[in-house]
């Protein structure tokens, strides 16, 4: 047998790998779940052709004026039926012929209804003989990179890296402590740094599989753009994973039971799921809490990945989020090594 296979670092790392791969639930959460989530969100927020807005009119004359507009589907309704259709949401707007003109009935808090008001009014005015003051032309652009799926893929990637790193490290260590395995290992001549390093090494191997599978899927199915350098994106993924591994180690450094570890883990991750802009932009939160939001490692990770993938920014332009991630990594790692309980 060769020397590598006899080395304790190799054995520790390989065994970590076996333990991950032999846990079917872990495989689901790490590989399948993010892809399912991306599929679900991709379907829910797919770019549809511009909506056709249903409207009603009280005379056939008005209906005819609207019939030519591809953005509208108009039906003729008497005022009573029209009001009912409006109140039940079957139409967005009812155009009522008046002796001295037209009245539009619609809900001005509904953006679609306001668009219908503009389209209907333009068509009716044109039918009555109004002409464009300036000739205008439309040029339609459907570009990838500005869709919701493009926005959400880096968010899901960041969230997935956080979850797999924190659970992968934190849970395994606390389980070993609870089952007294950690104590048994410490009673053997195992070098302790190798135990911790084996987690990092197996994490990095899993990371490659995890990131390639997820981003490959996003690329093939949704044609999500990669505008920045792939090497730099890989660096960001590794940095993110190490940062959350360190946080996982911190959470696991003293917890004695799985229950305590789960609680701590959720305490750390929940605010980031909400605040860090996985599903919508973190800049929507009030200015007062923005410094907090910006300081969270997941916000920094997702900002950096969006910057790389969607805007093609270089690491130099992403110095701020990279610095935040590095600071969290060093701080969490230093504190957890100091307070780690080996038994």
């Amino acid at each position: 047998m060769n020397k590598l296979r006899l080395s304790s670092l190799y054995q520790l790392t390989v065994i970590r790998f076996f333990l991950i791969v032999r846990e079917p639930e872990a495989i689901f959460w790490i590989f399948i779940f993010p892809i399912l989530l991306a599929v679900g969100l991709g379907i829910a927020f797919r770019n549809r052709p511009a909506d056709v807005l249903p409207v009603g009119a009280t005379t056939t004359q008005l209906t005819q004026a609207l019939a030519a507009d591809k953005g509208l589907s108009a039906t003729t309704l008497d005022p009573a039926a029209g009001t009912h259709a409006l109140s039940t949401g079957n139409i967005l707007l009812l155009a009522i012929q008046q002796p001295d003109g037209v009245t539009y009935q619609f809900d001005d808090t509904n953006p679609d209804a306001r668009i219908a008001r503009m389209l209907v009014d333009r068509d009716i005015q044109a039918a009555a003989g109004q002409h464009e003051a300036i000739h205008a032309q439309n040029q339609l652009v459907h570009e990838t990179g500005s869709r919701y799926i493009d926005f959400v893929v880096p968010g899901l990637l960041g969230m997935n890296l956080m979850g797999s790193a924190m659970w992968g490290l934190g849970f395994a260590i606390v389980e070993a402590r609870q089952k007294k395995l950690l104590k048994r290992l410490v009673a053997s001549p195992m070098p302790r740094w190798q135990y911790l390093l084996s987690f990092i090494l197996s994490r990095l191997v899993m990371l490659v599989i995890e990131v390639v599978a997820f981003l490959g899927f996003a690329r093939l199915v949704f044609a999500v753009p990669f505008r920045g350098s792939l090497v730099q994106l890989a660096f960001l993924c590794v940095l993110t994973s190490l940062c959350f591994s360190a946080l996982g180690l911190l959470v696991a450094s003293r917890a004695k039971t799985m229950e305590a570890a789960s609680g701590l883990m959720n305490l750390v991750m929940l605010p980031m799921w909400i605040l860090s802009g996985v599903f919508f932009s973190a800049s929507r939160f009030p200015a007062a809490i923005q410094p907090l939001v910006r300081a969270l490692p997941l916000t920094a990770a997702i900002d950096a990945m969006r910057g790389n993938m969607l805007q093609g920014m270089s690491l130099g332009q992403l110095a701020a989020p990279v610095a935040i991630l590095s600071a969290w990594l060093l701080l969490a790692f230093a504190v957890s090594l100091r307070i780690f309980r080996w038994r």
Binding site: S8, K180, K183, V186, P189
Partner: protein
């Protein structure tokens, strides 16, 4: 307190420290307190090379704390620990290479196989035996490729033993190796320890089973409340009871004897003085209505005991005898049973 030195059997393997002939284990004035509980209260102990030494005592006697201090897992509050002539503070890494440890309640990962687990532990040691050999020693050949989660309690315990053996240790610590096992698995493990003993390894084990200590150990220390209350070979300790047989009996009386009365005084209607007057009856005590006599010359004493009770007009409701055991040593020293937990 009985204290004897037993010549260690010859060690079959050459040991690096043989020249110095330091004892395998030397404890002096060991003390450890957890919160307000004194777990180890001034312990002195010496274990020789090649000896199988047992720490016997009830749960909470301080056995595990003592053995974990020896294993370098717990720091003592005071006292001196020396293993193989080395100190934990000065030579922790070297010591971990040279001892084998089996802890209470270690759960190895369920999803690993026996062989993977042993390869992992083997990789920590510079020198040792191949994983295959430890599998053979622990008689786990058929389970080599089974996941740990599928093993029985006895097999898991043998795996723990195999993990302690892969480093070919000079000194082996076994903490309650058979607790929770069924009698058959226990006997199986005893055979394994026997084989290790024959191979000349120094073994230190804790147990609260007296028959285990009697069966396996060359010398035994009986612990109670963090102290060693008796030390010697099982035979010496049993001899200290004063007689080799124990007679237990109960009588049916008009009124039951008062519980908790001190031994040696007449209880209810049993006249202890009459019993103690019988040649061969060394002592008498009463525990919860059960009379206990330590007796030598069982064949002549028993008919006289019957006669003495009959002369008092008493009717026996229970009567049995057994050879004196370490249990009786413990009872004699503390007035409690080992398994009163």
């Amino acid at each position: 307190m009985t204290q004897t030195q037993i010549a260690p059997p010859p060690i079959s393997r050459p040991s690096p420290n043989e020249a110095t002939r330091a004892p395998s284990l030397l404890l002096r004035g060991l003390r450890k307190t957890f919160a307000d509980v004194v777990a180890v209260d001034g312990l002195d102990l010496e274990v020789n090379r090649g000896e199988c030494f047992g720490l016997l005592g009830p749960n909470g006697a301080g056995k595990t704390t003592t053995i974990e201090i020896c294993e370098g897992l717990t720091d003592p509050d005071a006292g001196h620990v020396q293993l193989l002539g080395l100190d934990w503070r000065a030579a922790a890494n070297q010591l971990r290479q040279r001892i084998g440890v089996q802890l209470q309640e270690t759960q190895f990962p369920d999803k690993l196989t026996v062989e993977e687990t042993l390869r992992l532990f083997r990789s920590f040691f510079h020198h040792g035996i191949p994983a295959e050999e430890s599998i053979r020693t622990a008689q786990l050949e058929e389970k080599r490729n089974s996941r740990v989660g599928t093993l029985s309690g006895g097999q898991k315990q043998r795996l723990a033993m195999a993990c302690a053996l892969v480093g070919d240790p000079e000194l082996l610590f076994l903490d309650e190796p058979t607790t929770g096992l069924d009698p058959q698995a226990r006997r199986h493990l005893w055979d394994l320890v026997d084989a290790l003993k024959q191979a000349g390894r120094t073994i230190i084990l804790t147990t609260h089973y007296m028959e285990e200590a009697e069966r396996l150990c060359d010398r035994v220390a009986i612990m109670d409340h963090g102290r060693i209350i008796a030390l010697g070979t099982p035979q010496q300790l049993i001899a200290s009871v004063g007689a080799e047989h124990i007679v237990e009996f109960a009588v049916s009386a008009h009124e039951p004897p008062a519980p908790g009365s001190a031994p040696g005084i007449a209880h209810g209607i049993v006249d202890a003085a009459l019993l103690l007057a019988i040649p061969g009856v060394m002592s008498h005590r009463v525990d919860a209505g059960l009379h206990q006599l330590s007796v030598s010359e069982l064949h002549t004493a028993v008919p006289r005991i019957f006669a003495a009770l009959a002369s008092q007009g008493l009717h026996l409701s229970e009567f049995r005898t057994h050879s004196a055991s370490l249990e009786d040593v413990f009872v004699g020293l503390t007035g409690r049973n080992l398994r009163d937990e």
